[in-house]
Symmetry: C3
């Protein structure tokens, strides 16, 4: 049984960047030596999210618009009184989407459908170098 983990840092991101990290996660799965098991991708920070989606520009736009519709950026959030950084919407969107995703690993490979990509969604309103923790468990 193996446990492997790696902290990775993404190139500086901007608000609502949606970044395909599938190849990077696959690289860490190979590096782990785990053939069968699970991988977890976890955002270190309260204003980002990980999820799985078809990665094409139209859908990327649709996700952005949906987030704006459900949790508008311009609204007056109480969180703004704490830090005056105007990113209340970022935190709430992160809670809705979630910071952590679990994906099966089979034959040292992410077990994904043809169109499934693992993505990081930047939700903060300031550019950031974002850290992710990739953990692989299995044998």
């Amino acid at each position: 049984m193996k446990v492997y983990s790696k902290r990775i840092v993404l190139p500086k991101t901007s608000e609502l960047d949606i970044i395909d990290i599938t190849d990077r996660v696959q690289m860490e799965v190979k590096e782990s030596g785990v053939k069968e098991g699970l991988v977890n991708v976890f955002v270190v920070g309260t204003t980002g999210a990980t999820t799985i989606m078809e990665y094409e520009p139209g859908l990327v736009n649709d996700i952005k618009r949906t987030l704006e519709s459900l949790v508008p950026k311009g609204a007056d959030y109480d969180h703004h009184q704490k830090w005056q950084d105007g990113n209340g919407h970022s935190h709430i969107r992160s809670v809705l989407l979630g910071p952590s995703i679990v994906v099966p690993v089979t034959s040292s490979t992410l077990y994904l459908g043809a169109w499934q990509k693992i993505v990081y969604i930047e939700l903060d309103n300031r550019p950031r170098e974002r850290a992710l923790k990739i953990s692989v468990l299995g044998e």
Copy 2:
């Protein structure tokens, strides 16, 4: 320590079918031989979701109406320009609900509350034979 996984295929589903898969997941937990650990249920595809809910017809209706209210089917999504299959809403709903759920296993049994059922939610607008990957880790 054991790692077990199984791909299962559901009978053909229609849009917004919500299917109780608890017994099937429990069957795979037994088959795995894992007494204590975790099970992950993962949808292979970008237009479905797994979650946990009380499984009764009224709540099933309520979930369907909420999805329609938050991410309307009739809207004009950019994703439609990619494949012309009109399922932009399906992809976005899948991102909101998530394709992956983790449940504890104790004494070879899913550790669920009295009313908790593991469900698959079909979000695509075309009938599909949907694959799920069930992974069990533990000892």
Copy 3:
């Protein structure tokens, strides 16, 4: 390889209480003896959720208002015909937020960002003694 799990019960909660359980989860991680791995926190029940957020009163208010905006409490849900307990909104909010969160463990410590706290969100409209299952896997 170790597998550890513990059922904990929270002091009686009220609707939309958001409770920081980070220290308690950390305590169980220490108790487990796992140095490197993953921890899962799972709500035993269909009207609660776990997630990760910055824990400050303004954001707590914002989350409450967002839930009320997306899934209003006063609406007429079909679920109310089943039990007459008026908590249809609680169930739907639980499906949106999810009952289960996975967090990395490194050097016997939760691998969290500076502001990340693991929280339990009570979504039911009646006071409850809520059970959570904390599972730790790793070595």
